[in-house]
Symmetry: C2
Subunit: 223 residues, 2 copies
């Protein structure tokens, strides 16, 4: 088994995270790396969604993954088993990543040789939304079992999203999730947000999401 | 419709939250009020589990509920519609409650006249675990769709739990959740934790959980 690289992140000493995040984005633009920050509650399917996206995109792009967790290494194990370049980041109890912590992970995964790096942020609908990681895109996953009312309770997370991915739509019949009510809750907090309905379990909807991401990457490069 | 009372919590100025939490527990003991802190990810079924517990316990005890959220009032509306004394607490962006914030809510819900107050903490598996709310019992809910690996990723939350409630067991067949693996993950982090398997949707398992809680309340009172 490939050895898992675990990085204990150092807490950032920079006062101005927003400025540092802008700087990191410029650095990534220069080296031609697109950086996506994936956020959600624990257990809404970040890892399996990322794996499906990589399946769709790996022929076209060189991709790496940063797995941020309070503790453990299960997701990095999953990524390495799927042949994906991946580094485990331990936040030391912190519930978010900032730009400088991103930078530590990006360096470790060798982002200068990659077209796309995907950060799986700590599972949490509150704190990660408060910190700009330097990513080009915030992708927020909300899974059907969590309920359609979440944009009302965690507005900042959905306001910070460039795209909201509704996952586990294969379980729609088991749960009281009303897609129209969800869309209206999203519309009231953040009308310009893109939305995709997917099932990372069956692969349903993943192709459209991957193509949309690829288009954003090309747009960034001016292609 | 009953008017919803919304309390904008003031940030605690006390340096020593642990000492304040002990003090709050003593105050509650003196007035004969048992206080339960319910924690989980967003959408794992805190509100519906609390409603089921109240159904089971309301003939025996006078019960009130504190609904803590970043924003919104959907859960308090649900509680009031069910005839449950309930107050909405807004944390002003903070992802946790401490003892002093508890105290503000307990006063508002009129805890001195209640046998049991249940706090629905902010949906989050990280931050709420770091702060003693002054509760007698930490009840942590993990729902089946979130996956059986969560104790490995969020160990502190499960270490702080007096009881872990596995919810949405009616959806067990739709998801890859292995109860034996979950039990072994719990055993490795916190072997003394009680565990109940329930479905707040069907009511399955709720009676046993309610009876266990009632027994703890009686134990406290020396009955």
């Amino acid at each position: 088994m490939e050895e898992i690289r675990i990085i204990d992140l150092k807490e950032s000493i920079l006062a101005d995270n927003d400025a540092d995040a802008e700087k990191l984005r410029s650095e990534l633009d220069e080296q031609g790396t697109y950086y996506i920050n994936v956020m959600s509650s624990p257990g809404s399917g970040k890892t399996s969604t990322i794996l499906r996206l990589i399946e769709e995109l790996r022929c076209r792009y060189k991709i790496g993954v940063l797995e941020a967790d309070i503790d453990g290494d299960v997701d990095t194990r999953t990524m390495l088993d799927a042949g994906v370049a991946s580094v485990q980041l331990h936040t030391g109890g912190m519930c978010h990543l900032d730009a400088d912590m991103s930078r530590q992970g990006l360096k470790e995964v060798g982002s200068e040789d990659l077209d796309l790096v995907i950060l799986e942020n700590v599972g949490n609908l509150v704190c990660p939304a408060e910190f700009d990681t330097g990513a080009h895109m915030n992708l927020v996953i909300l899974s059907v079992p969590e309920g359609d009312d979440k944009p009302l309770k965690y507005p900042l997370m959905f306001q910070e999203a460039d795209v909201v991915v509704v996952n586990k739509i294969d379980a729609m019949e088991v749960f009281d999730f009303n897609p129209e009510r969800f869309k209206s809750n999203i519309a009231s907090c953040c009308p310009d947000t893109e939305m995709f309905m997917v099932s990372a379990a069956t692969g349903d909807g993943m192709h459209a999401l991957a193509e949309w991401i690829s288009a954003k990457m090309k747009e960034k490069k001016g292609e």
